[in-house]
């Protein structure tokens, strides 16, 4: 491995604003004041990032806590609490220098002790996803008041991406003095957090809203600009959108913006559509159960891939706002993505493949029946399922579409393995190691939600999965990911259907509501009102 020592200089927002020329069109000094109202689709589970992967929780607490590092638009790593960091040449030791002026909302200084406590006691022991990455860590230690060191057991290239993706890792820095000596699951701060972030917690009115106010002592100078940030809970999709149109709520994050309304919003001057990269790389897929007597035949799966019109799904189910997914990695994860192994729409070939596979049409023109499940909540998945049913009917396959509530669906597909085909969203970013590998590795055939419920196993791809994350050379690692995609697209544990676009909608009265690729869970420290 090439010896590499990387140091990243301080790039605080203030510094950047003075040193980098701001384009004239944007030359507007952010103004203080105002209230931004953000819609939440559900009540947060708790305001405790170490306990959950619940999105409304993260949409809220990202304003109250900080992470060590964050992602930029191109999924590169940028500073948050860590002003700089170095990685040792062997890729095992990560040393972080932490800002010295950060304070908790109760006035106590934030030091590397808090960082150590957060990782060793809160995140690693409680977060649902800790098991997927923490086993790479040999130790996490504060070596100075503002110096913090992670030592890994073996090289793990995606490590910084993990730390920069709190939804995947829970990696917010939390106050040691508040959590120490108490049960981290029942601490009162889980409902009333004391953070270091741009906004301070005021109240959580159950069922209604969470209210935050500006932290005047925020360590990023000048920020935030808003006086208040309110996160209002609005469970009904149609009513929520009406409230947005009426201006009662100012921001809808991407997956609660109804796709059938995007075109209308695009034309309306009162609103703006925002997109600043996408770290999640969310793909909609059709999972295929490899235990099924017919679907276990790879030719059958390939026939389905040739027969399903994914462009129609994009046009009719997603109103043309999405992109056809051409691989198991999203095109947003640009360095790893390849569309080379995609399937062409070719119903004739599909028919031929099914004949070859030993499933000729019967006297009535039919070959075999299949069940396709989806979970209520994402209407586009339902419309997609109907289009698939239509496409496969032409192939002589009788598809029964069945809808369940989310809990029953998850139970059936991922715990009972009682399905043939199923509509499911999988994230594929920001790094495919922790987003993609977990779905298709043989050791992930577990009765656990959102892993390899398909029962797909190929030792060849497992072997690459097991080594690629040690490869520090980006070009070499990308080549390994091309090999992975080649195998996955040939074997088709799931058929990629569409890439969901991360389009957020905001009132035109505000600027910089979204600044990065995790717009739905990012802090609103840069947002300001224009008047």
């Amino acid at each position: 491995m090439i010896a590499r020592l990387r140091t990243i200089a301080i790039a605080s927002a203030v510094f950047a604003a003075f040193s980098v020329g701001v384009p004239p069109a944007e030359a507007q000094t952010p103004k203080r004041g105002g209230t931004l109202i953000v819609a939440l689709e559900n009540e947060p589970q708790a305001l405790a990032p170490h306990l959950t992967t619940d999105t409304p929780t993260f949409t809220t607490v990202s304003n109250v806590y900080n992470t060590l590092v964050l992602l930029d638009e191109k999924l590169g790593i940028i500073p948050d609490l860590a002003k700089s960091w170095t990685v040792s040449p062997d890729g095992l030791v990560y040393t972080f220098e932490i800002v010295e002026n950060a304070k908790w909302h109760d006035g106590k200084p934030l030091t590397s002790d808090d960082v150590e406590y957060s990782f060793n006691e809160l995140i690693s022991k409680n977060h649902p996803r800790a098991g997927t990455w923490w086993n790479n860590v040999a130790s996490a230690k504060a070596t100075g008041k503002y110096t913090f060191v992670f030592t890994l057991k073996a090289p793990y290239v995606p490590f910084l991406s993990v730390l920069a993706s709190p939804l995947a890792s829970g990696a917010f820095i939390m106050p040691k003095h508040v959590y120490e000596g108490k049960d981290p699951k029942t601490n009162a701060a889980n409902q009333a957090p004391i953070g270091s972030g741009p906004f301070k917690f005021v109240r959580w009115q159950r069922g209604s809203h969470v209210e935050l106010v500006r932290n005047d002592q925020y360590w990023k100078e000048g920020k935030p600009y808003l006086d208040r940030l309110v996160l209002q809970i609005m469970p009904d999709a149609a009513a929520r959108f009406l409230a947005f149109e009426r201006g009662e709520v100012d921001f809808l994050h991407w997956y609660i913006v109804p796709y059938d309304q995007v075109a209308k919003l695009r034309k309306d001057k009162r609103f703006q559509l925002l997109s600043r990269g996408d770290a999640a790389g969310t793909n909609g897929l059709m999972l295929m159960n490899h235990r099924h007597s017919v679907l276990k035949n790879v030719k059958v799966r390939q026939a389905l891939a040739h027969a399903i019109n994914r462009e129609t799904i994009n046009q009719r189910a997603l109103f043309g706002e999405a992109k056809v997914a051409r691989s198991h990695v999203s095109s947003n994860v640009a360095w790893a993505f390849t569309d080379e192994y995609d399937y062409k729409l070719d119903p004739a070939l599909a028919n031929k493949l099914l004949d070859e596979a030993g499933f000729p049409r019967g006297a009535d023109g039919k070959r075999f029946p299949l069940r396709l499940f989806w979970a209520a909540g994402r209407d586009y998945e339902g419309r997609g399922a109907e289009i698939i049913k239509d496409n496969l009917r032409d192939l002589g396959i009788d598809v029964t579409v069945q809808v369940f509530d989310r809990a029953s669906f998850t139970d059936r597909v991922f715990r009972q393995w009682e399905f043939d085909l199923a509509m499911q969203l999988f994230t594929t970013g920001p790094d495919p190691t922790f987003a993609v590998t977990a779905r298709y590795h043989t050791k992930q055939i577990l009765k656990v939600p959102f892993v390899n419920g398909m029962g797909y196993s190929n030792p060849e791809v497992d072997a690459i999965f097991d080594t690629e994350f040690k490869e520090a050379d980006v070009a070499k690692r990308a080549a390994m990911w091309r090999d992975i995609q080649k195998i996955l697209m040939h074997d088709l544990p799931a058929l990629p259907l569409f890439e969901l676009p991360a389009i957020h909608a905001a009132s035109a009265k505000f600027k910089d509501v979204v600044t990065g690729p995790q717009g739905y869970i990012e802090s609103r420290e840069s947002a300001y009102e224009i008047k």
Partner: protein, 326 residues
């Protein structure tokens, strides 16, 4: 009506409720656990948690115990008024429910009060002029309201009165952009209350209206009414003192029942209008398979139905002197 015998009667009824409650809890417990789905799946959300982590959660919440043992634990806690701990929110169920109760009581209380009042008045009005234009109009409007599903009616109300006319806010219980204090806050809540209350009222109004109209028509045709009129009693007094008092008994029963069922009725209304009440809590708990919250809400619901029944009986005695409790 002697107060003492009434008290004994109410006490007896409440005692009877204890075995009923036990059976209700048993049935609820069985039904809730028979539904497919696992609360742990919802808790870990979109994450690919390890099996060890999932087992840990099971142990923490006692979900690894045999079902009968979970039931015994639940019952032994409930007799101490401990409704357990929410899996989703990691908070005591009782405090979650009590926190949401005022919003539901306000919404449903307002809706039921006004719809009962208006329903009875309309019913009396229609019964006095049966088959008139007014009668047909009232019947048509109330039946239309009754037949429209609450979530649909709610959306239509929002589109007309919130989006186009902009008379009322769409979501929630308070204005969050500029919070008000004191009297302004009361007005603010009232302003937010109008649309959800009207939406829910329609359903209830139709029931009360139809029932009152039929009963009033029956009673107005009876001999004692003719006698009263013949005696020269004023028409208003005949209708409201003589007839309505006789016709209202079954109406009181229905109103009482609806108070008991207000939690069930509030689910859709509260969801559409983002009203922070118990109905939404129920809706969320179903989606998350949050067993303790579901059990707690159903238990509270059962208590409400039983109490509503007892109160209805007491009200009976107040409006009808013939009813005597022994």
């Amino acid at each position: 009506m002697p107060t003492k015998s009434l008290l004994i009667y109410v006490g007896g009824r409440l005692l009877q409720a204890v075995p009923i409650m036990f059976v209700i809890i048993l049935i609820n417990f069985a039904l809730i656990h028979a539904a497919p789905g696992d609360p742990v799946d919802i808790l870990i959300g979109g994450a690919d948690a390890t099996p060890e982590y999932i087992e840990g959660l099971r142990r923490e919440f006692g979900l690894d115990q045999p079902l009968w043992q979970q039931f015994v634990t639940y019952i032994s806690k409930i007799v101490q008024f401990d409704l357990g701990y929410s899996l989703r929110y990691r908070e005591p169920v009782l405090s979650l429910i009590l926190g949401r109760m005022p919003a539901t009581l306000l919404l449903m209380g307002t809706a039921l009060f006004f719809s009962s009042l208006i329903g009875i008045l309309l019913g009396v009005f229609a019964a006095r002029r049966p088959y008139s234009v007014g009668d047909y109009t009232a019947t048509f409007v109330s039946l239309a309201g009754y037949s429209m599903p609450v979530f649909w009616l709610g959306q239509i109300m929002l589109v007309i009165f919130a989006l186009h006319l902009a008379w009322f806010p769409t979501q929630g219980m308070y204005s969050l952009r500029a919070p008000s204090q004191g009297f302004g806050r009361i007005l603010d809540v009232a302003h937010h209350l109008v649309l959800p209350a009207i939406t829910y009222s329609f359903y209830h109004l139709a029931l009360i209206y139809r029932l009152t109209r039929i009963k009033m028509q029956e009673v107005l045709a009876l001999d004692f009414i003719t006698t009263a009129r013949a005696k020269g009693v004023a028409e208003g007094r005949v209708v409201y003192r003589h007839a309505l008092r006789n016709a209202i008994l079954p109406v009181v029963t229905v109103i009482g029942l609806n108070f008991g069922f207000m939690l069930a009725g509030s689910v859709l209304t509260e969801t559409v209008f983002a009203w922070p009440g118990m109905g939404r809590l129920l809706y969320e708990a179903v989606g998350a398979r949050d067993y303790p919250v579901l059990m707690g809400l159903f238990t509270v619901l059962s208590v409400m139905v039983i109490c509503a029944n007892v109160i209805t009986d007491v009200v009976y005695a107040l409006v009808d002197p013939r009813v005597v409790y022994r």
